[in-house]
Symmetry: C2
Subunit: 219 residues, 2 copies
């Protein structure tokens, strides 16, 4: 029985490896879904398109323009402005958009239901937990329970890499010969990866632990 | 201790009465939030604006254009089209947008967090349960548990009318002398309420049970 699924494919390393892993397993028929929410690192979306194409799976990008507008500008005369500089290393604890993961997963769930798909895949991994509240195992579990009730149709949220560390994910991708030069990780908006932000550092360490060379071009 | 809250104000009867109820209680400082997701009955948004103004509370409308685009048109060459006619009486069981409530509540939660508000109010009521999966008590409870983990900051989802029937909500609104002519209920997109769709019928019955006259103009 082939699972009919949607995968949230950001174009980052984790979701890209997960997409390849699921296709390689041959147990899942996948649609890839990405979100354009005005992220500074739009290269992610190009990478997502590349990976979906290489896997020959349909790829849909949903535009969430409201996120920039409603969450980051001074939205109400009485509103508290969100501090700037989300993407800076020293501000890693600040989520780009409050409740971002739940928003994206809820929309992806609606998309999956509208496409009559019963599985939603999501590339959360163990390393995220300490920084982001919405990557915690407890949170994912609650989300899973909520999604199981959101429609009359079944919807199962799966995060197969939930207990894996970044270096273990890199190892899985490497063994499948993924083109890692087409996965984007850097938090800054530059042409090349900075190599020094929290996100780049974690990636570089994951390659180093495996004794692999990251094919991305760094500044 | 005044609660700092956001209310999802659709401009329908339930959320409008809830907003007045919370302000009258004087235990909550409210921001009103509405969503423009291309609903046919855009009068709802005008009603939401009217009610927020009458309560002298700030009102923000978030544009969710993606819903129409991503969920209802033929979105992927391989995609299954969503059947048309969502708003017709005979199709009451079809949710306008799959997983709509979870999507709206997730976004409202992100908005509340960005505004440093710890309470999110939502006008679910008992009559909804049988039709919509995402109005069920179990669903709301799971959503509440999920939201309590979505951020490091506390966020409490409250649905004070969750166990009330429509006629009880009408009674509360009537006692507060709400302008019911500025609450929109009809599922059709007309200038006047149709009076015959499932939604209008429920509303009219709720007024009738109380022996009140609905000031809305019906076709």
């Amino acid at each position: 029985m082939i699972k009919q699924g949607v995968i949230i494919l950001s174009g980052g390393l984790d979701s890209s490896v997960l997409a390849h892993f699921l296709i390689k397993e041959k147990k899942t028929n996948l649609l890839a879904l990405s979100f354009d929410y005005g992220q500074k690192h739009r290269k992610e979306l190009d990478c997502a398109a590349f990976q979906a194409k290489s896997l020959k799976i349909p790829h849909k990008i949903i535009n969430l323009g409201f996120m920039n507008e409603a969450f980051t500008s001074s939205l109400l005369s009485s509103g508290d402005a969100i501090p700037e500089g989300h993407y800076e290393d020293e501000n890693m604890k600040q989520t780009v958009v409050p409740n971002r993961n739940m928003i994206l997963i809820s929309i992806a769930a609606g998309f999956a239901i509208s496409q009559n798909r019963e599985y939603l895949f999501y590339g959360a991994h163990a390393g995220d937990h300490s920084i982001y509240p919405d990557c915690r195992g407890e949170f994912i579990q609650k989300l899973r329970e909520t999604l199981s009730l959101c429609d009359w149709q079944n919807l199962t949220l799966e995060a197969p890499f939930q207990n894996l560390k970044k270096d273990e994910i890199v190892k899985i991708g490497y063994d499948m010969e993924i083109d890692f030069s087409q996965t984007w990780t850097c938090y800054k908006g530059g042409e090349k990866s900075c190599g020094v932000c929290g996100s780049c550092s974690e990636r570089l360490e994951a390659f180093e632990k495996n004794g692999f060379t990251d094919p991305l071009i760094y500044l």
